[in-house]
Amino acid sequence: MREINVKDMIPIVKKLCIDANYYIGEDVISKIKEFKEKEESPTAKNVLDILLENYELADKEQMPICQDTGVAVCFVELGQDVHMVGGDFTEAVNEGVRQGYKDGYLRKSMVSDPIIDRINTKDNTPAIIYTDIVPGDKIKITIAPKGGGSENMSEVKMMKAADGIEGVIEFVVDRISRSGGNPCPPIIVGVGLGGNFEQSALLAKKSLLRSLTEKNPDPKWAKVEEEILAKINNLGIGPQGLGGRTTALGVFILSKPCHIASMPVAVNVQCHAARHKSVVI
């Protein structure tokens, strides 16, 4: 049994919030450069150049890549041999978020309730925290700030097995087609297949943690991902929806077993500001 004081997690979460918002992953930069080479529209090429310039400036000026510094989504892989001491784990994560969003000059985008009051909580809490119990005595914490523009273009659909893989592909492509320029293309498309209603959505979100340079380890899904990506890029939406051949940089699928009567499909849309940083304690 390894003891970890929850208070030690506060500065770690704080730094993850700031780093995730200031520094884009190398995978996004290299993919955008790769697509820029193939892009046919001059307007689109110009937008991609501005995005590359923006990542560089964010790093240099120590400012967030995007003003929408998102909901702080926190994935925790908790080793089952860890014993947490020193206080409330959830509160420690929230305190890290609070400090990160304040000291990193990140935007506070959370409101107290969804409809009636909508009063800004002023410190970007609460974070949305998912915990998985895993073997071992370590904790892996990932902070993935998620902006509203792309999140709003996401959808869960309870499909029928009879719809087949063609039906799934059609639904995903149609979802992106209807999103147009809203989610700040170029986007990354997270697809969760199977499980049940809520698990499919979580799979879609978790799929977005993959690097754009990594292929799906299952060749069956890697092929479907490629097919969906090609179809999406044939929509012509282009960067920012202004027209072009670069609409999505990647499609990521995660799947799980499901009930004999069900086939849940979830699409979680991620903008080019695909921010996530992890640390293992």
């Binding site: 923006n54 995007c66 003003q67 909508r118 147009g180 929806g241 202004l242």
Partner: protein, 182 residues
């Protein structure tokens, strides 16, 4: 085409713009998102005055990040515009001449732009530091309680955007996609 515009905007200048033109704005822009728009339109419905004179002005859909020390503003890219669609025509009717945001507008807004000879300009979503560099001053002029959603008056120099809807009803979100889809 590359066009430099200064505020307040003149109808004659806007009539020359076509979708896809690269525009650089210098002068004043006012900011507002959903919550501020709701309040502005409520004021108009009650027959009251807006907190700023809308004539010839530009409204920028943005909720900036806080200003780090020594900077006039934090990251400040555009937010998605369709959420302002229900409110936009009322503001164009009182003389607002341009909107800056990201993503397509609905037909009622496009019709209102034709009627009022106004334009919609797209800034690059997520290019928030690039935009912030063009903002030289920023002060909250109304609805401080809304935090990032408060209305700000910004002084900008060469604020970069693209004409997405011109005064003739053309729409880059439709035309651009048509051109590049297969």
């Amino acid at each position: 085409m590359e066009v430099h515009l200064t505020t307040p905007l003149k109808t004659a200048d806007l009539e020359k713009l076509k979708i896809g033109d690269q525009v650089y704005i210098t002068g004043t822009v006012y900011t507002g998102r959903d919550a501020a728009h709701k309040r502005l339109v409520e004021l108009l419905e009650k027959g009251e005055k807006l907190p700023f004179d809308a004539k010839g002005q530009i409204i920028y859909y943005v909720g900036p990040a806080p200003a780090p020390p020594g900077k006039p503003i934090g990251s400040a890219g555009p937010t998605t515009s369709y959420r302002m669609d229900p409110y936009a025509p009322a503001l164009l009717d009182v003389g607002m001449k341009a909107m800056i945001g990201k993503g397509p507008r609905d037909q009622t807004v496009i019709d209102s732009m034709i009627k009022n000879k106004a334009v919609y300009l797209a800034a690059v979503g997520g290019a928030a530091v690039v935009v912030a560099k063009s903002i030289k001053e920023s002060k909250v002029i109304a609805y401080e309680d809304l935090g990032p959603e408060a209305i700000r008056e910004m002084k900008v120099e060469n604020f970069p955007c693209v004409v997405a809807n011109d005064v003739y009803g053309n729409d880059i979100y439709k035309a651009g996609v048509e051109e590049y889809k297969r």
